[in-house]
């Protein structure tokens, strides 16, 4: 039995489920007094900037529940018991050690991910045959400290340990280094450390990490796929308001190092399928150095059938300590508001493509209903323009961008990614308006004609909309050419 057409197109907003995974209960989801290494302030800001077309649900889990329980929350078990769209890693421990402790030499014999966990993560990060899956990963850590005296070299068959002889190991290395692809986007051995001589400091203007002065970011321009392109725009993670970008970040005196494969070197196809490259998209500044520091790198797994990744130079960008100087909630344009928007952008951008498509369906459904009431009888381009103006009021530029990207057929997205051809293509208003018109026709038709509802799918409505938009554009171009010919 076929339900009504509207019922088939109706879409509820989904929930993006984020696992906040740490190995140290100190990195707690609270914002109590003096709890400087907590994530509570970040979580509040994330929720305050939550997207319009998805709910955000965070779940905090420490690999070691407390000082009496070592590795009682392994990823393999967590991922088999509950579905998550994203994992944000906030690891503290450096390596396996001979004895578990959360005190002086933090770590234990099972601090590092084991082969079963790596296998579970690999599967979780891969897009399934049904098009879903492909979990997103935020990889953080911090500077390196002295290698624990009781370090035990890893013997993981899926993840070689290259740290023998290293005198410094990165904070967060134990959880991070073996995460597929994401683990390779940070340097886990050797400098930078906390020593002044080889630290990376983004502290702005000689102040404190707790003060009101954030670091200033230098944003790299990228194309629609996230590849560097001087003619593009800053990465969607840094979209703020219409035409404005997030250009500030919490600062810290001892950041870690984000690294990416050299741009000209061949990629290991086992690690980086289909040749899709990660790129640094935001830089910071250490006043003692000439070269900018890598702060954020991104990997657009959409293009490779795997989850997206963001690598960050330090978890301090998310901690209560570093957010102290930015009271929340805050005015539009303030550093606090920009930083909060970044967390929400991160949640949206890292969401699996399937989840972003769900969000897009919720968005199209809401827009189709709204414009149906307001815009009866107007052309598709006007409907699209109205929809866009509504979207700008209720949603963030990053969310709008990502949801548009999610429902746009890949060949069309590729056309738009070629910047020089954009002016020859249908406007984005016409594309959106045509999709909404297709929705509305499907919603109204059976009701006004008194006929039975046919089976429809959102995908078919989107395809019909895009086809009509291109056809209309071709007609307009042809008419313009005819007019020019006759005038000549």
């Amino acid at each position: 039995m076929i339900t009504t057409t509207s019922a088939q197109l109706e879409a509820e907003k989904p929930t993006i489920k984020i696992l906040l995974y740490t190995d140290d209960p100190q990195i707690a989801p609270t914002n109590d007094a003096g709890q400087f290494f907590g994530l509570g302030s970040m979580i509040e800001r994330l929720q305050a900037h939550a997207p319009t077309f998805a709910n955000i649900e965070t779940k905090w889990v420490s690999r070691n529940s407390d000082a009496a329980h070592h590795a009682d929350n392994k990823l393999e078990t967590i991922l088999s018991n509950e579905e998550f769209d994203e994992i944000w890693f906030f690891g503290m421990h450096q390596s396996n050690t001979d004895k578990f402790s959360l005190i002086a030499r933090r770590g234990g014999p099972e601090s590092e991910l084991n082969p079963n966990e790596i296998t579970a993560l690999t599967k979780w990060m891969k897009v399934r045959e049904d098009g879903c899956g492909g979990g997103g990963v935020l990889m953080t850590g911090d500077h390196s400290n002295e290698t624990p005296r009781n370090v035990v070299l890893g013997s993981n068959s899926l993840c070689e340990d290259t740290s023998a002889g290293a005198s410094f190991l990165g904070l967060g290395r134990a959880l991070g280094r073996c995460v597929p692809r994401a683990g390779s986007l940070r340097r886990w051995e050797g400098p930078p450390t906390y020593h002044a001589a080889d630290s990376l400091s983004t502290i702005f203007n000689g102040g404190f990490q707790t003060d009101r002065n954030p670091q200033r970011l230098l944003l790299r321009h990228v194309n629609a796929d996230g590849d560097p392109d001087p003619d593009g725009h800053p990465h969607p993670l840094f979209f703020y308001k219409d035409g404005e970008f997030i250009e500030v970040f919490p600062d810290h005196a001892h950041e870690g190092a984000v690294v990416t494969p050299p741009e000209t070197a061949p990629l290991d196809p086992h690690m980086w399928p289909v040749g899709v490259r990660p790129h640094v998209v935001a830089f910071g500044r250490d006043v003692r150095r000439d070269e900018p520091l890598n702060i954020i790198a991104t990997y657009n797994g959409d293009l490779a059938g795997v989850g997206r990744i963001v690598a960050d130079s330090t978890w301090h960008h998310y901690m209560n300590l570093n957010l102290e100087g930015f009271p929340h909630p805050a005015n539009d344009g303030s550093p606090s508001d920009q930083i909060g928007q970044f967390y929400a952008n991160l949640a949206v951008w890292l969401a699996p493509q399937c989840k972003r498509q769900e969000m897009a369906r919720a968005m199209l459904w809401e827009l189709a209903r709204f414009t149906l009431l307001l815009e009866e009888g107007v052309d598709a381009e006007s409907t699209g323009a109205t929809a866009h103006s509504v979207l700008k009021k209720v949603s963030s530029p990053c969310e709008i961008h990502e949801l548009s990207y999610a429902y746009t057929p890949r060949p069309v997205a590729e056309l738009y990614a070629q910047q020089e051809s954009v002016s020859q293509l249908p406007s984005k208003e016409l594309l959106l308006g045509s999709v909404l018109k297709a929705y509305q026709s499907a919603m109204i038709g059976p009701e006004t004609q008194g006929s039975a509802a046919e089976a429809v799918s959102v995908r078919s409505m989107i395809d019909v909309g895009f086809e009509r938009a291109f056809r209309q554009h071709v007609d307009q171009v042809r008419k313009t050419l005819d007019d020019l010919n006759s005038a000549g």
Binding site: G34, F36, F37, R212, A253
Partner: protein, 139 residues
């Protein structure tokens, strides 16, 4: 005032005990401390405004000699915050600190009302007799 090694940077959040008609107030203090054979010298600033509040003197003594964990110590910090002299003491364990403080304002200064030296103004100025907790860590 960035704190550079070998000095230790400690960030401590102070919360005053609520009193009648005087609600609890919080402040972030950043201490940059040089510790030599148990004697502490350094300076303290408001962590949010970045303004230096005063010099710091104090002591740090391992509690190992009392049979407690060697990694724990008793730390006292004496400094000024606007017109108030503050005495804070507490226990450090590894990189964490938890303690109590008391503020004193000279009667003569208190009689003049809230006075602070130019350049040392702080959003929160303790009053005579203010007590509270200090919690934080080496950052």
């Amino acid at each position: 005032m960035a704190c550079i090694e070998p000095n230790e940077e400690w960030t401590i959040e102070t919360v005053t005990d609520a009193r009648p008609n005087r609600p609890s107030t919080t402040q972030i203090l950043v201490f940059c401390l040089s510790i030599d054979q148990g004697m502490i010298t350094g300076e303290v600033a408001d962590g949010v405004t970045g303004q230096v509040l005063s010099l710091v003197k104090g002591t740090r003594e391992s509690l190992g000699r009392l049979g407690l964990d060697e990694a724990s110590s008793l730390m006292t910090l004496n400094f000024s915050n606007g017109p108030a002299r503050v005495m804070m003491s507490g226990v450090t364990f590894l990189r964490n600190f938890r303690g109590r403080f008391t503020s004193f304002v000279d009667a003569q200064v208190a009689a003049m009302g809230s006075v602070s030296e130019p350049g040392t103004a702080s959003p929160f100025v303790p009053s005579d007799g203010d007590t509270g907790t200090g919690t934080g860590s080496q950052t």
